[in-house]
């Protein structure tokens, strides 16, 4: 009974914060989409056409086709990391909105869940535009339905990326240090998770390192979906399991540490 009330309150309290983000989004959506998308498109064009001219095929497909799923999967890494580091800092510490919200019936886990949900939803338009462009203009997405199936996978992945970024945020007390999250976490993950090259051809240490990076597990699902490669049930269960664990584990840890930090 208590848990039913808890869940009811949990969702009742998330809604107004999502509405707050909705009000904000109404004024910033254009700039937001451009910002979220533009650097992904730069990578897509620079590597797709630049490298693509040298590397005619990768893992048995045109290089551009190989590249698109990785670029799509990496969108969330950067958007979520930015939103859950600088964004959360801004709202919790510089604007002091968290203390304002906590003076109402809303509790911290609900605020953090609303943060994750909003930022994740925000990546959807960017990824859709990327898919439309890559699929219909560049002809680099062989499987239409695979792309549709990839969307929920990417949303789960982005929740996980967001939850992980939050775990960094709870330990950072100077916004200057958020740059490390980008240079030591997001960027290396982007480079070593098989966005640009076939991991099965990589040297063994690099291969094992890549397996420790969450983005690898997103790409190993999304690339087969988009390109029509074979996908085993074991692979699906493992990768989704990894992402779900990171999302829930990261979220729980962030809630616990943030609570301590705010309430001490």
């Amino acid at each position: 009974m208590t848990s039913v009330i808890y869940l009811r309150d949990f969702f009742a309290n998330i809604r107004p914060i999502l509405l707050r983000f909705g009000y904000e989004y109404r004024t910033v959506w254009k700039a937001q989409i451009v910002r979220d998308l533009i650097d992904r498109l730069l990578y897509l064009f620079a590597f797709g056409f630049g490298m693509g001219a040298l590397v005619t095929s990768m893992d048995g497909m045109p290089y551009l086709t190989f590249l698109v799923p990785g670029i799509a999967a990496s969108t969330g890494v950067f958007v979520m990391t930015m939103a859950m580091t600088y964004g959360v800092w801004e709202r919790s510490t510089s604007y002091k909105l968290y203390p304002a919200w906590l003076a109402t019936p809303v509790r911290l886990p609900q605020i953090l869940m609303a943060e994750l949900l909003y930022a994740t939803l925000r990546t959807l338009p960017s990824i859709l535009i990327l898919f439309l462009l890559a699929g219909f203009v560049l002809g680099a997405i062989p499987s239409f339905w695979g792309a549709v199936l990839a969307l929920p996978v990417l949303m789960l992945a982005n929740l996980a990326f967001g939850a992980i970024a939050m775990c960094f945020t709870v330990h950072i007390y100077r916004p200057l240090h958020f740059a490390y999250v980008n240079t030591l976490w997001a960027t290396p993950m982007f480079l070593f998770s098989g966005v640009f090259f076939d991991l099965s051809q990589a040297p063994a240490p690099l291969y094992w390192f890549s397996q420790a990076l969450p983005l690898t597990h997103v790409i190993s699902l999304v690339r087969p979906l988009l390109t029509g490669q074979e996908l085993t049930a074991l692979q699906v269960v493992t990768d989704l399991g990894v992402l779900l664990t990171l999302f829930i584990g990261g979220y729980a840890y962030a809630c616990w540490r943030f609570q301590k930090r705010l309430l001490d």
Partner: protein, 304 residues
């Protein structure tokens, strides 16, 4: 007859914390007891660092207490139900309005955080804007508002859930006299509506004007409490003579305090004392006020 349950009851309330980056443990609140009766305006006064804001934060559940008990509506303040939380509101010391939203969106979202439906808020938000004289600014962004407007919006925001218990943490700090008078009127109206108010302020005239009961705290402890009149009577008598030095000889032996260029004499009977002062003495005669009480109780040394 049973005494009615107080709105707030603190017993042995303590807060200690370890400063980030090391250093000795800080005792911000050292076991204080107090009661806030329903339907009253109680002032929590003390110099900077006395423990007022920490006490406020503990009441709001924004910081964990280290010891003692703290009850609101008869229940532990740290474990209030959702329903009980909807009956409480806070006007924080710093305006923490949402800069990404407009004035009316700020109220809309805050109301929904209390679980109030959009339909109810559609009526209530314009009412609050009018009450706080912000109607023209409904669609402005928060950073387009002046300091006084921000403060009014912060107070309006705390009224969106029509609370029974309202915490006001320095509600008029930094405002011009017009805005202060307007906010005082609103606070007195809230009192008339039967709401319970807990107020902190550094303005003693404000405390004297608004509060039924005053709790003086310093260094994390309660120094004294009572109504403004009781405290004035007890600590400084009725009249103050601020006599410029040199002090005339053979003045009657009354309670006095040397404050540098002059000496303050606290006396019960003003007329008699005035007769004792030589004609050429330079002095200022005024009724004693809460400021005198405050300075007597907490000393004149500067705080950080």
């Amino acid at each position: 007859m049973t005494t009615p349950q107080p709105a707030i009851q603190a017993k042995g309330l303590t807060k200690t914390y370890k400063p980030r980056g090391g250093g000795p443990v800080v005792e911000a609140v050292k076991g204080i007891d107090f009661v806030v009766k329903k339907g009253t305006c109680t002032g929590l006064l003390g110099p900077n660092g006395a423990g007022k804001s920490t006490t406020m934060k503990m009441l709001m559940g924004l910081t964990q207490r280290s010891g003692g008990t703290l009850d609101i509506f008869g229940h532990d303040a740290a474990g209030l139900s959702r329903e009980e939380r909807t009956r409480i509101a806070l006007v924080p010391q710093d305006d923490n309005l949402d800069p990404d939203l407009t004035v009316s969106e700020n109220l809309m979202v805050y109301g929904m955080l209390f679980g109030i439906s959009r339909a109810v808020l559609k009526d209530r938000v314009p009412q609050i804007l009018q009450y706080m004289q912000l109607t023209e600014k409904a669609d402005a962004r928060v950073n387009q508002l002046s300091g006084g407007m921000k403060r009014r919006l912060t107070i309006g925001r705390a009224l969106v859930n029509d609370p029974d218990l309202l915490f006001l943490d320095e509600p008029t700090t930094g405002l011009d006299p017009q805005a202060r008078v307007m906010i005082w009127q609103r606070i007195l109206e809230l009192k008339k509506q039967g709401k319970t108010l807990l107020l902190t302020t550094h303005y003693m005239d404000e405390a004297q004007r608004l509060c039924d009961h005053i709790i003086m705290i310093d260094h994390g402890k309660v120094l004294d409490e009572g109504s403004p009149a009781q405290l004035i009577d007890k600590h400084v008598k009725k009249h103050v003579f601020d006599v410029t030095k040199p002090i005339p000889l053979d003045l009657p032996p009354v309670d006095s305090e040397d404050v540098g260029d002059s000496v303050l004499f606290y006396v019960e009977d003003g007329a008699t004392f005035r007769k004792k002062l030589p004609e050429d003495a330079t002095y200022l005669h005024r009724p004693a006020n809460m400021e005198d009480v405050f300075l007597r109780l907490t000393g004149r040394k500067l705080r950080d």
